[in-house]
Structures are given as C-alpha cells and as structure tokens.
Symmetry: C2
Subunit: 162 residues, 2 copies
DNA sequence: CTGGAACCTCAAGCAATATTGAGGTCAAGT
DNA sequence: ACTTGACCTCAATATTGCTTGAGGTTCCAG
C-alpha cells in the first residue's frame, strides 16, 4: 500500500482533511473561494503549509459563530501575504471573531429575555406581546434572504400602543 | 386608488406581510411548506386568521435560534387543528424554543471560552491549541451536506443525532 | 513494473430559503 | 365602466456551502 509522504513541513490535502476534520471536497472549495492557498508539486498535487491548519480552524470557528465564508475570506485577506502569520496575527483575528461571538450571544440573550416575558404574560394581548413586537423589528431588516448575521434587533422595549 | 379591505377578523396576505415584516413571497412559501394556512375568498384570495400573525412571529423567532423550518413545521403541527391556539398553546411552544435558545447560548458561550483560552495562550502550540481541538471536534459531524444549520450553528448536539 | 490509494479537474447535484418574473385575475374608488 | 393596485399561479433563478461523480493522473511499496 502506498504510504503517505510524511513530510514535516507541508501537508497534502488528505492530511489537512484528516487533521482539520474538514472534507477534502470542502478544502478544495475553500481554496477555490480563496480562503486557503496551496502550491503544487511537480505532479500537480496540492501542498499546504502548516499554518493552513490554523486557517481552517479559524474558518470553522467563524462559521459556528454564523459568519459567512465571504466575510471570513475578507478577514483572512488581512493576514500577511508573504510570511507565516504570527501568533499575534491569529490573536487579532480571534479577537475579531470573539467580538462577533459576544454580539451574537448578547443578541440571543436579549431574545431569550423577551421570550420569557412573553411566556410570563401569557400572550393575552397580541398588540403588546413581546413576540409580536420582536417580529415587527425583524421586518426592518428589509427584503432579501434574512441573514443569520442580522445585527441589532431586539434592543427595544415592549411596544406599548396598538 | 383601491382601498384595502379593512377587515377586523381576517388578514390579506399583504396585511400579514406588513404586520409581520415578512415578505409576501415568504408567506406564500411558508404556506406551501405547511407552516401557516389560509382559506380563500370567492375570488381565490388568501385570508389569514389573526393568530397567523402569532404563528409567523414564532416561526421567525425559531429561525433566529437556528431551528430549520422543517422542525418548526413539526412543532407547529402540535397546535390544535380546529380551534384558535390558546395562550397556553403558544406558551408551550415558546418554552420549547426557549430550551433551544438556552442550549444555543450555552454552546456559544463555551465556544467563546475556548476562543479566549486560545488568545491567551498565543496559539504557540498547535497541538494543544483550543482552536485546533475545537476544530477536530467539528470533524465528528461526518459527511453529508453540511447544512445551513450547521453554519447557522446549533444543531450538532440537538437534532442530528437521534 | 504494477496495483491501488490518493490525487487532479470540472460539472452537476443537493438542500434550505427564499425572490423574481411572466401572464393573468380581482376589487374598489372615481 | 375603467383603472390600478393587490392578488393569483407556476416556473425559474439566486445564494451558500458544500458533495458526488466521471474520467484521468501520480505516487509509492512490493
């Protein structure tokens, strides 16, 4: 059986897949989208530098927070082109994602509070129901697919008149 | 100019759209998916009972929590067929969503903690980096289309595994 | 050298969640 | 009646994030 080239410096796509837990097809996809890069061997096979592992990890984390790949790609573009990103580079990105995460958590917590109110009030009054008003706010987002990432919403208090 | 029929008891699709903040096309879509229902006038136009407003609100809330429409539809099926849902019916649903919300928040908070660790450690050790390990876990999800939902976060722990 | 795993490219498909458009109907103010 | 905005249906298109498949190449242990 063919043995994988156990290179110390670079990773094949299969190795990257195994170590990152992301399917090979997804890695190809990320590469096509410019989220990761590779260089090719003489035989046209991809080789990834080790920090790609980190890049992929960051991508997945970002996705869990609800950040679309397009946006992740933009953020990754701020990483240095020529050199391997330093821990500081990664820390900066992590911090940015963290801000998103915080915002997202905050948003959900507020949503939860509203929902609790709603349950408490028994929703007897449609016009004053938090659920109803929450929904009105959602309408402000405008047309088009309602994104995940919808920011702000739910900062308002109970709506009080019909 | 034509005046909207200002019915007290029922809503046209346009009214429902305006009051819920959801596009008419989306309402049609929800109806096609069985999330809401209507009856028709003699002229084949949709009329929605007022509690549909509530239904739509619940749908949107659920979506924000990351619950796919398919699942929302199942939950809505537990509402009474013949009668207008009571406040208690809605409260029950709200409570269910709230559990999802809590789980979701919890998940994100844990993610945040990991990320914080990672920033703190400077990510000098790839093998011990929280980010790296987090990513390994993501790989456990297995093959198959990584659904929207997983991007939207949320579901690994909740609906995918029986 | 050979066999098979791992790789390559490109195109097509899938799933969710809608929007847009074409072509036609309904209804209400003037 | 006419006009006009709101509605109707159905099909097509869009977006995101992949997977699957066909058809072919590369690599390496034996």
């Amino acid at each position: 059986m063919p043995k994988l080239p156990l290179e110390i410096k670079e990773l094949t796509v299969g190795q990257l897949s195994e170590r990152s837990g992301v399917a090979v097809s997804a890695l190809h996809f990320y590469e096509a989208k410019g989220l990761i890069t590779s260089h090719r061997t003489a035989g046209n096979q991809r080789r990834y530098s080790r920090d790609t592992l980190r890049r992929v990890a960051v991508i997945r984390v970002a996705q869990r927070v609800g950040i679309p790949l397009r946006v992740v790609a933009e953020a990754l573009e701020t990483l240095p082109e020529g050199r391997t990103p330093t821990p500081e580079d990664w820390a900066r990105l992590s911090t940015e994602w963290r801000a998103e995460l915080d915002a997202r958590i905050d948003q959900l917590v507020r949503l939860r509070d509203r929902l609790s109110d709603c349950i408490g009030c028994g929703c007897l009054s449609l016009d004053r129901c938090a659920l109803r008003n929450l929904d009105d706010r959602l309408g402000d987002v405008g047309p088009g697919p309602r994104r995940l990432l919808s920011r702000r919403i739910a900062q308002e208090d109970h709506y009080t008149s019909p």
